[in-house]
Symmetry: C4
Subunit: 207 residues, 4 copies
């Protein structure tokens, strides 16, 4: 009788965003490449194929890191939009910017896969961490566009909004730290990126 | 009690269209290619990789332009279908033509990425702008098929329909202008395409 | 009060099928390839690029044919499942077989694109038409699994079911005719495939 | 009036998972490659193309096996989540691990396609069966995370939960058997993988 809950109008925007997240996270696996052997080397043995597959470990490492990072971003996206009732142009384009950088993730992932064990690793890892800086900025833009009086659920408690606001302030500086450290130590940059998704995974309470 | 709102029967058509938009917009990122170095040049340095990545700026530019153009098209698609209650064969095939050209967008985007800095830029940019001419025509067809008595929401005000009708009359001639200018100035064509999505982004009021 | 409509339990199956259709139809565009020029030929001119793009017309032709054929299949899938209330294992696997062949469509489409203008056109077009024979068989299997007492909506009129049953009997022999004619006249095979989607498009009354 | 059914809160998680399953299953078809002929061999004949297509039978075999295995996994995923009301971090990450391995399936499928007829078949088939060991472990993790008091539907009968629990205990050892047999007999490994999806297909009662 007392249906006081205001109607949520963001269903199609959320479905679209979920679609983009789901496709981007699935396309990550396309960077796993079948090893090829040159014809003059003759037919490959099982040992040669196994060695070749094992030597692609940077691909597997960057794939797992990117997969779980995008997965956690999807959870965060969900957490934010649960509190949003209406989307306006500002939120739409903040969200569009975020989605654009999310679809780009397979690209730096592939660059790291190919160059992590070469002298070009610093540049590759800077690109990788830099992409996540952009995503962290995207989240911060979405959060700011989402939690305005005209868009947010009026029943959302100010405490919840503030807790989320403060947790998203951490993303940009931490990924920036990874990006800045990459030219000196590409491995430190990758370790920070890995540490961050594990940290967020461990601290996720709702989804 | 007085549930006067007629039932909307286009849910599955909208979900399918959203899926195609979401996939097409995500596939755009596949055109971002990992730079390769020839084996005889030795292992690449960070500087070489960074230079190679930077030299791909036409890819990034056309990617961003295509991404936001498709995103805005999705918003417009949403705006139109919010006023549609039923789909018939005419609307289905107008929508099918529109979706077909939307899925094609990664192709001219990749052509521009590869040829924007070559003497073939005029042909590449004509193809690019020409694709958007087809999309603008597709929108015009969808709008005409959607806003008929048998398909449109009877509660939609004639003023709203007319405002949308007139706004969609602008698309085809403006993109045609871009396509016609491309052989003389590929950059002007790209500037018009960029200007149009920014214009539409700025003027979007609902989403 | 008199909620006599039995609950529909196929929402997730339909959403999954729609997803596969949407992805398969979007992946068709990946077969459109950016023309490349050998380095020794120097930088390409606009005329060379335009000629090269124009020479890819078999790609465009097979892309459009495949796109609209898959789109119409999606409409037909929708038409069938609107009358289905429950899915069982038989329907699930008939539908799975159908979806499998639908995801394969980009493969024969790419083969036709590459070989339509070569002496290998008969084999390419046999593969193409043969794929649609399998899809037509898949539809026939789905229809038979769907329109059983345990799965179909009891409110569906027998006349509607029979009309659909008889319309789906046409698909397999007509595509088989195309496949059989391909070795003698690849163009006749392609004309039959094109004619069929136009015929189905024109005769679609509901969607 | 007596709406005793507790609200299901996993709609978006299920939709996301369905999206990933749908994309992964559709991307499998991308491993079907158009045969190419070297320029010096002249234009290919229909016989040459047909022979080349036929010689790719390992691709078709591994494609069909992977397609139906992923399809059945999707059915199982559906069966489990129908009994889940709430997702917490543990379930989210168990599900994330499962989805990650599902997106990887096209990779071992492509490896088997390329190496099944070479001396490297044992390594290729070990990788293939090993991927399904990981998926079976993923399902076991999801099941354990899903059927806890805090997440499961309180109306689900203990008998149903136990039946599902015991059926999922079979997956890991059976796929492990396939993986262990692959170095000695790659064909036995592929036969076990094929036998398992047929077995599960035949025994599926609900979907």
């Amino acid at each position: 009788m007392s249906e006081s809950k205001p109607e949520k109008q963001t269903a199609r925007l959320e479905a679209f965003s979920d679609g983009v997240f789901a496709i981007a996270i699935t396309l990550l696996a396309l960077e796993l490449k079948v090893p090829h052997f040159t014809a003059e080397a003759g037919e490959p043995t099982s040992v040669a194929l196994a060695k070749s597959l094992a030597s692609q470990w940077p691909s597997y490492f960057s794939f797992v890191t990117s997969f779980f990072t995008v997965l956690i971003m999807w959870v965060h996206h969900h957490t934010i939009f649960r509190l949003v009732l209406r989307a306006d142009a500002k939120l739409l384009f903040a969200n569009g910017f975020l989605l654009m950088v999310v679809t780009v993730v397979p690209f730096p992932t592939a660059v790291v896969s190919e160059y992590l064990r070469t002298p070009a690793a610093p540049a590759a890892c800077t690109l990788y961490a830099g992409t996540f800086v952009l995503i962290a900025i995207g989240f911060w833009l979405v959060l700011n566009a989402a939690f305005r009086r005209s868009t947010v659920d009026p029943n959302a408690s100010e405490a919840t909004l503030n807790r989320l606001r403060s947790s998203y302030r951490l993303g940009p500086p931490l990924y920036l730290l990874a990006a800045i450290s990459a030219p000196f130590s590409p491995w430190l940059a990758m370790a920070i990126c890995t540490g961050l998704w594990i940290l967020w995974a461990v601290t996720t309470r709702e989804c």
